[in-house]
């Protein structure tokens, strides 16, 4: 775990020192909510529409972070130094997935406030415990699959195209499960209970794609 923590600490320090990913993701999310606010011509959204608007926005914001996940290593030559270190290369996977998870949490805290003010037709407070559970599971999906796709994309010249073209289709099942799980939370008459089936689907997605990403990540770093 120590190499993972060293790598994660470095990524968080770099983002704190020269913020790039989190501000971009945040600005994108808030701008999208403003566009939805005026674009659909409604002050309030509830139910499945609210869940869809929130989660699709977070998914696209995550793509921005995924695009930049390995940029510091790639552009500054640190990639080779890390690859030459006597560490299990999956430490790299855990560190990058951990960094993306932290970025997503930071973005979601502010984005959720913006979403509540601009679009959400119900009080956000009663929905929070359930929403946090769904977002944690969704963030695990975004972080693991995102790290895998980012590692694949960074080796190519078309990095900016590879991430959305490969990442979005892979993340569709997670988005569907998260949106279905969230929809009752935003019901107009007050939050309903989360359908256990969709939480289970999301959990299984995390498990299967997490293991898959873990298994193939090292091969992506090979020459």
């Amino acid at each position: 775990m120590r190499p993972s923590l060293a790598l994660l600490r470095k990524d968080l320090l770099l983002e704190r020192r020269a913020p790039e990913s989190v501000p971009a993701m945040l600005l994108f999310s808030l701008t999208t909510f403003v566009l939805f606010h005026f674009g659909i011509g409604r002050d309030e959204v509830t139910g499945s529409l609210a869940a869809g608007v929130l989660l699709v926005t977070l998914l696209f914001a995550a793509i921005l972070g995924i695009n930049r996940l390995f940029v510091s290593e790639h552009e500054e030559g640190g990639f080779d130094a890390v690859l030459m270190a006597p560490i299990d290369r999956t430490a790299f996977f855990f560190a990058k997935a951990g960094a993306l998870f932290v970025f997503l949490v930071l973005v979601e805290i502010v984005a959720m406030a913006g979403f509540s003010i601009l679009l959400l037709g119900v009080s956000p407070w009663p929905t929070l415990p359930g929403l946090i559970l769904v977002l944690v599971l969704l963030n695990i999906a975004l972080s693991t699959v995102g790290t895998l796709v980012s590692a694949l994309a960074i080796q190519t010249r078309a990095r900016d195209l590879i991430v959305p073209l490969v990442g979005l289709p892979m993340l569709v099942p997670a988005l569907i499960a998260a949106a279905r799980a969230c929809a009752p939370l935003f019901a107009a008459g007050g939050p309903g209970s989360i359908p256990g089936k969709w939480l289970l689907v999301l959990g299984l997605y995390d498990l299967v794609f997490g293991l898959l990403a873990y298994a193939v990540f090292e091969f992506l770093l090979e020459d």
Binding site: A6, L14, R17, E76, G77, A85
Partner: protein, 228 residues
């Protein structure tokens, strides 16, 4: 009993797509010796270094580094090799101290090793400045510290003295020079300077071996001919 060579390459080749970057390169370097690689730009010097650093796999031939075959057991030797490449392999927004501490953690080294190197390379006054604010010479000194942080047995140096003034060169000499006692592979465009520190001279052109001989048997004219 004779000790195994630190580097043993037999007929090694490497291509990038259709382009051959290295063709049938064979060389043996005893432990503690210095191999200096000469050749014009695009001759395959950096490819050779990256292959020795386990970052590129050979596409032909066999390679054995520090007694271990590559790429089969490259994980065995990774932590025993130091690489000083053209780019500093440093994070620009971190300070010299933060960069070195990060690599020390990856190599499970105590932080006092970082302080020792910062002091030896006279970087302490600028140790907390982001490396993007350092001059090229200072940046190169930080990169040198990073490459020798884990006290590697094999040191791979891509034009290590570029950007350094004579005082800085003298400062890093104990770390990466012959006196460090490490096995070294050094790329150079300086025939006289390169031969002065070489035990073995290797000349590459177009990825092929044009010259391979003990440095004592090579003169600067033969090296200069590689560039014509």
């Amino acid at each position: 009993m004779a000790t195994a060579p630190a580097i043993e390459l037999r007929g090694v080749g490497r291509r990038y797509g259709e382009r051959l970057a290295l063709v049938d390169v064979s060389v043996s370097v005893p432990a503690g010796a210095t191999l200096v690689v000469f050749g014009p730009n695009g001759a395959g010097k950096s490819t050779l270094l990256r292959m020795l650093a386990t970052l590129l796999r050979p596409h032909a031939g066999s390679a054995r580094i520090l007694g271990e075959p590559l790429p089969k057991r490259d994980w065995e030797v990774r932590g025993r090799i130091g690489l000083l490449a053209h780019e500093g392999m440093l994070y620009r927004d971190l300070s010299a101290r933060e960069n070195l501490r990060f690599h020390a953690r990856l190599h499970k080294l105590p932080e006092r090793r970082v302080e020792e190197l910062l002091e030896r390379s006279e970087l302490l006054p600028r140790a907390n400045d982001p490396v993007r604010t350092l001059s090229r010479g200072l940046l190169q000194r930080v990169a040198v510290c990073r490459s020798v942080l884990h006290d590697p047995e094999l040191l791979l140096l891509d034009e290590p003295r570029a950007n350094l003034d004579p005082a800085a060169r003298a400062l890093i000499e104990p770390l990466i020079g012959r006196v460090s006692g490490r096995t070294r592979v050094v790329t150079s465009h300086d025939p006289a300077g390169g031969l002065a520190e070489a035990d073995i001279a290797l000349g590459l052109r177009g990825g092929r071996t044009e010259l391979l001989a003990p440095a004592a048997e090579v003169d600067t004219i033969a090296i200069e001919a590689l560039y014509r």
